[in-house]
């Protein structure tokens, strides 16, 4: 390999930087959710922990989770059960590493990062599936099956939507896509953007697409048997997912670091746009009732897939005619 010392240091720095972002941003989103949801529902939300508007609530939650007893059910497939949270969490970390906040602020600028991020986030579902299967609990298994079916169904429109963006930009790299972005895309790629957003929310199993963890039917789906820190990992992975998807949306559809004062703000623009999307995701949770399993599938196959294909056709024709 011939890696020099400075190379090693750089790699470590980058990795640690990603880790730091990964630990901070989800907490930010989580706190936002607490507060935004509370206010939408006419209440205050956390107010005490840490003093100012309960800013440290999630940190306190974390400390609490660490101290809780970790139970592995006697009937469970123990190794798989214990490892599942890591499988659910790590992919989002890796995905985060490939998302550029600006041309310079990116941990790993892969040549086909759009495809890479899609592929890696899809691995996360494996954690849920492992959790559901290894729990040896009927609710868990049912939840895992639902989660898997949901992922499968929504992955397709999402991939098609991303393909359409890639086609428009002529690049598979997120940096390249953001570089090729122009405001005109806001209209031209709108159907694709909607498809992507809906599919992203569905992949995260966020309400209204939270059938896999529907507490009134199957307790807490695949996570029913989890306690303590392992359970916290699943929660964390959900919020990390929101971060990743929001940033991805910002880069793909909102031009990432392009903004009014792009020279000055740069990566901050991307974060800002991503944050807005995260708020939208939170808003969806409050505003919409849960979809039934069959409605959910029909939405994917009969609305989103055709819509994404139409978007693809539109982009294709546009590209060919303008090229």
């Amino acid at each position: 390999m011939g890696a020099t010392v400075s190379d090693t240091v750089e790699v470590t720095l980058r990795a640690v930087g990603v880790l730091a972002a990964f630990l901070v941003l989800p907490l930010l989103v989580g706190q936002t959710e607490h507060k935004v949801m509370a206010h939408m529902q006419g209440r205050l939300g956390p107010m005490y922990a840490g003093g100012f508007h309960g800013w440290a609530q999630l940190v306190a939650d974390g400390v609490k989770f660490v101290q809780k007893e970790d139970i592995t059910p006697a009937a469970a497939d123990k190794r798989v059960f214990r490892f599942a949270p890591a499988v659910a969490l790590v992919p989002y970390l890796v995905a985060l590493a490939a998302i550029p906040l600006s041309p310079d602020v990116v941990a790993a600028d892969l040549p086909a990062s759009a495809v890479f991020v899609l592929a890696v986030t899809a691995v996360g579902i494996l954690g849920t599936l492992m959790a559901g299967w290894a729990s040896a609990n009927k609710y868990s298994l049912l939840g895992a099956m639902r989660a898997a079916a949901q992922l499968l169904s929504y992955e397709l429109p999402m991939v098609l939507a991303v393909a359409s963006v890639c086609l428009a930009a002529g690049s598979l790299s997120l940096s390249g896509i953001a570089a090729a972005w122009s405001p005109w895309w806001l209209i031209f790629q709108l159907p694709g953007a909607i498809v992507f957003l809906v599919a992203a929310v569905a992949e995260l199993q966020r309400p209204p697409f939270d059938m896999p963890v529907a507490d009134s039917e199957i307790v807490f789906g695949a996570y029913t048997e989890y306690t303590g820190l392992r359970f916290a990992f699943f929660l964390l992975s959900e919020y990390a997912g929101i971060v990743v998807m929001s940033l991805l949306f910002a880069v793909l559809y909102l031009g990432g670091w392009h903004g009014l004062l792009s020279d000055q703000l740069g990566w901050l623009w991307t974060l800002l746009k991503g944050f807005c999307i995260a708020v939208v995701v939170i808003w969806l949770r409050v505003a919409w009732p849960r979809l039934r399993e069959d409605q959910l599938q029909r939405l994917a196959w009969l609305v989103l897939v055709p819509l994404a294909l139409a978007q693809l056709a539109l982009t294709g024709v546009w590209v060919v005619t303008t090229a």
Partner: protein, 118 residues
Amino acid sequence: MSPYVVIAAVVAVGLLLFVAAMGARALLAPKAPTRAKLTTYESGVDPVGRDWAQTQVRYFVYAFLYVIFAVDAVYLFPWALVVRSNLGAASLLEIAVFIGVLLVGLVHAARRGLLRWL
């Protein structure tokens, strides 16, 4: 330096995070297993039947549809890269045929009731 090295490092860091967190838990969390605590949770009643139950086979249908359609991604992304080259309109036509055939399949399947949630 290849960006993939960074990716590998990130994976390692992620796993390290998991291990460290579990280590912290092992130090901090109490450990008092009882038999009742370790039984499978079924809303408070004693577990019924075997641990792993049969599930609905209909979930396979989605796997089935997914595999059919996800494969187009394999061709879409390379196509996205080359469509601006001299392949142009011809490749658009071909990808249209490709997706068209897939759609015929989907419509056929829908017509045959495959997408109905029974």
